[in-house]
Symmetry: D2
Subunit: 391 residues, 4 copies
């Protein structure tokens, strides 16, 4: 089975050492989460009890720019994200937000004290972090944010409203981005570390989601929030600091989408190979084979793109439009694969316990956050043509 | 707004009389269901309290082959289905199953006594009907059904297992299809009217659906079910009697899909016209306009196909592959439109209260039941080429 | 065969009188052109000898705004364009340029003298007209044209360079659009009637075309061209006068595309029904049926859109974005159909004598001229959203 | 420029030695063929004068199973095919037929005498070979071939009709496949080496092609052709010997398609970056960027698939369905890219001298020969599901 799903051997030559994190992740999830994932999804619940095990495996780790022997390499990291999302996009989201966004922000832009205070606890999973960038009226264009940070005698005062903040309902620390001046200059954007709970900060869980139900998300309302100067991330000046974190998360998404896609193709193969209509397994009909092959086609290119992304990073040749390419390509491929799997499972495919529709629904969020198809198209278009078409 | 959504005037010249049923349906749903549809969907609940009003309007009516002055014409009926599904595919499903499947089966194939016993009560909504054709192992190929009807001294004994029986959890009567001989000949398929509850019949509601959550669906288990001869539909000999009912339901689906699609395009236009990013409403960007125009393109062809279907019926020129064409085309168009709307609404689009993802999820069932894309492709292929490729 | 290709009866209820022009066109082309169309295409030759017959049938007729009893109605006209392009897009182009562009411009904007001088000769096919709007550097945005018309003592002096002027190598009269001032205001655009040949006007035939090879096209170079005031179209002030003609031509294209598409589907059905591989006609395989059904799907929507266009015009409800919709939709549908037919004909499909690749190649021009997909998308986007995204 | 077109660095880490053959090929073609390729295409002429140079570079080489130090490795070979088809698919076809089909057949299945007689001459380009497998009525299913080989006293007698035989009009030797018995068993298929000209063999050039016009193709008619036993390829028993050659050619096609696609994307970028409409280069508009990015998306996956194919071969892990995957995927990607480039070049794009439509037309043949999309879908479907759906 493994051979078929890695049909072109995209990962066949990955050295053993680079597979260990993924194998541990898979083992954990198949044992502890898969048996109850449908229940969790139905009840919009996050399996908080596995956080220590995720930490133990080593999935909570910042992705700062400095070389770090202890950090998994790009390939090992990517393969683990693939395993997380093979189970559920929400689990990969938890890890992406914790590691790629919150911990990376602290590692990149935090002071020595901040790093010492938060990173060890986050690594152990004792503290979960969240990342408040998006606002109700500012998604694709974060530079338009309205959250304000004003200097006060004792430090800073934050006011604003963040939305779609993954992990926020279970977080002990929030990285909050705010403009320090009322001007529109994005250079005035700064990052703050806000322990939770904290006076003036209200976290409202988002409910009635039809996607990513296993991922706790929320709104973060900031009203006259007083913070000392030591809460400011000293290295975060301008939107670039936030975008650097997004690039790490987007890389993880590109890898995760491969896992969700593989899960869907696996289920479609299994179902059509077993179910007989008109005297033959569905998988024996031309129309069904065409759909399976279309899924394989999408999957293989996503696998090869993910693999290449890791190689570019190792070679030091990775530029941020490469990540845009991979995020856009792989999520769109996974969406097509999930929709085909849903259809191939027929009526059964709408039942939560058959998983395909959960993946299909989850991928709607995955396609939206960290840059929509349109945003990445314009990033790539600008890189390819030298002309910005954003406005 | 109306003008834009009926962009090519597909329904602009429909006479007033043919619009009345649709107008009444829309008025009822906007008043009584739309304000709570998201709640109903979240809790998988059907608004049973509107059944009397649906009956009052005249939406419960059989579609037998005889001319019936009281029955709405094909255009009036279709426009009403469009309004039902503009609200929710589950409401249209309720009406399709009640009117096109259960009542049509009784009207077409029932004895005078059966018609007198059931049709008035069904018309008033006092009795809801369901239609048990599909089985766990027999969907696309109903001729393979395993449910058996054996003659007994007193009449018949039924044994079998039906699944995906819409309305069954609230039904007072079930039309059950069974083979009267163990041979594979489809000519042995017969229909029975089973009042509910009834000894030996167990209805198990289907839960954990991620689609059509407002439509009550269930399994119907038949174990040593004893029925008098008078329970048999005398006019139902062979699978053809069931397929004739399916054709009516498929016609309704083709119309309903237009309504779901229109709702999605409406919401996408509204959202993108209002939400500003990069200093402009989203609707003012080329990429967004392209998506809106692609949706319009899909919508217009679906509208024209629905309209043409009604004209063919009025002219007496409607053949069943025409219906296959329309069901397949319109549902696929609606699926693409819903997916685009979901994406255009961004993160907001995953929230139940924004409706688009509900429509998108519902259409997965609509695409599956009453003939998948593949089945209708092969029906059309056979008609177009004269060669059957089913096996 | 006719029944199958008009699968949903889009034209089944067209009254006899409205079919006459199309029938005469078809009869003429099947007899006089189809037997040599592949030869003509191979040698890039136009069958000038059929011009009198086209005239005789009544295909050379202006489409001015005034009611004209002698002019075929929108449905009759459309059905005839469909027959022309069923044979070759180049023939439909000849008629579109002669009737919809050149004669319409004269009928709409010409003086009584101009109409009397040119229209009868054009109607009889004695004079072929062309329409010089596009320039080498100005296609999608004609308002940027560089051709200049300067007032002189005796009338006007024209200087400029028109390109992609269909019919120009065989034309006796050219409608030339030019800016009368150097300002950018499009209100300064005026139309002129230039008899050919004429001092200072050079027509250079375009060669080495891989599309529309049967349609003579050329460049028109204007160098110090002196014209009397009487050569100016008095009713043509601003780009609107030219655009009104384009709308007529675009309508013809929307209808013509249906004919090209039907020809391709016909050939694909014929070929796959006859050719046996693996012991069965190709048309008996699921994969082939799916492609045929996809073509049918595209064809039916194009047919319904064309039909609706005629109905909107008859009702006086036609707006120019409707035409943009139809041109864009129908040509794209025809392109997909032609590409599928090409593939279904296998290796044979690349031979000119099998026609499908000629249609496929022709449609590349048809998709480009009179507004690309992108331009019509933006016209529709502006109409749908109220926001222009052209710049 | 190179960096952008190899956007994800699919070939960035290819060692210098593996690039040499491609570099020499590119240099030759840019100097000797590109300046006249449009003329050649217009006149359906093959530039025979470059055959010695192609030979000199080392492009005429068999791909038998034995290790051969002199033969370029899979990566070097693939990169050279990419350069050939960047110029024209017909040039790549010449080389594929010569090297992958004819020479490989002789190398794999020929006797020592046959190899000594033909391979050196073919390597030097003194003898061009062709490969007669396809027949007028047998394309996708070559096992149905009607060409017969009968034993005679002196050897063999061949009768039959081969079609779509690339290179045949300029060939000095033909590999002809024939059934030695009238039974349907494919095990009876044998290969023969027929020197050209030869009594009873007539080669009729195929004309009026709208695709691959630079590639000389023909029909080979065999009527009472008498051959000695020594003309038979002793190692060629059964269709498998022919299919082994096809796999080599398909690999070359998968690589060649990348080159054609790159040429098209290059031209589209160049054109849209230069042409200004509405006050901006086309490349600065969102709709144009989306098309360019869609092309890039397709290109990158094709590049990665080609690269992976070479790696699988080097690792000894290449199976024939992998090649089917790559041929199908890469040609379809190239077709979409060429069609988009054609459209982006607007009216100019139909002129032969602008190259894009030549590539687009060529790819129709490339998509058809050596296995259509449908055939490779079924090969992959069978491999993926374990169920054959060919019949």
């Amino acid at each position: 089975m493994t051979e078929l799903i890695d049909y072109l051997g995209a990962f066949a030559d990955v050295p053993e050492g680079e597979r260990r994190l993924a194998a541990a992740t898979r083992e954990l999830l198949e044992r502890s989460v898969m048996p109850r994932i449908a229940d969790l999804y139905e009840s919009s619940a996050f399996p908080s009890d596995i956080i220590p095990a995720l930490a133990e495996i080593g999935l909570f780790v910042g992705h700062g720019p400095e070389h770090d022997e202890a950090r998994p390499g790009p390939l090992a990291w990517g393969l683990a994200q693939r395993e997380l999302e093979r189970c559920d996009s929400g689990l990969r989201s938890l890890v992406s937000v914790q590691s790629c966004l919150a911990m990376t922000a602290i590692e990149r832009s935090g002071s020595a004290d901040q790093r010492a205070e938060w990173l060890p606890a986050m690594r152990r999973g004792v503290a979960i972090g969240c990342f408040g960038l998006t606002e109700p009226e500012h998604g694709s264009d974060p530079s338009g944010m309205e959250t304000r940070a004003q200097r006060t005698a004792e430090g800073w005062r934050l006011d604003g409203h963040k939305r779609w903040v993954s992990n926020s309902p279970i977080a002990r620390v929030a990285v909050i981005w705010a403009k320090s001046e009322s001007s529109a200059a994005t250079g005035d954007i700064r990052g703050f570390l806000v322990p939770l709970p904290w006076p003036g900060v209200e976290v409202r869980p988002l409910t009635r989601k039809q996607s990513l139900r296993v991922s706790p998300s929320g709104e973060v309302l900031l009203k006259d929030v007083r913070l000392p100067e030591s809460a400011r991330l000293p290295g975060a000046e301008g939107l670039g600091a936030a975008l650097a974190c997004l690039n790490e998360a987007r890389t993880s998404i590109a890898w995760g989408a491969v896992g969700a896609a593989e899960a869907c193709l696996d289920m479609a193969r299994e179902h059509t190979g077993r179910r007989v209509q008109f005297g033959r397994p569905l998988a024996g009909f031309q129309l069904v084979q065409e759909r399976l092959v279309a899924m394989l086609d999408d999957l293989i290119s996503a696998q090869l793109v993910a693999r290449r992304l890791a190689e570019l990073k190792v070679r030091g040749a990775l530029r941020h439009p490469h990540i845009s390419f991979a995020k856009r390509h792989n999520v769109a491929a996974a969406q097509r694969i999930a929709a085909r799997a849903r259809a191939l499972l027929g009526a059964e495919g709408i039942i939560t316990d058959r998983h395909v529709m959960r993946h299909m629904a989850n991928l709607e969020s995955v396609a939206t956050y960290e840059g929509t198809d349109e945003i990445h198209t314009l990033i790539l278009g600008a890189d390819l043509t030298g002309l910005s078409a954003f406005r």
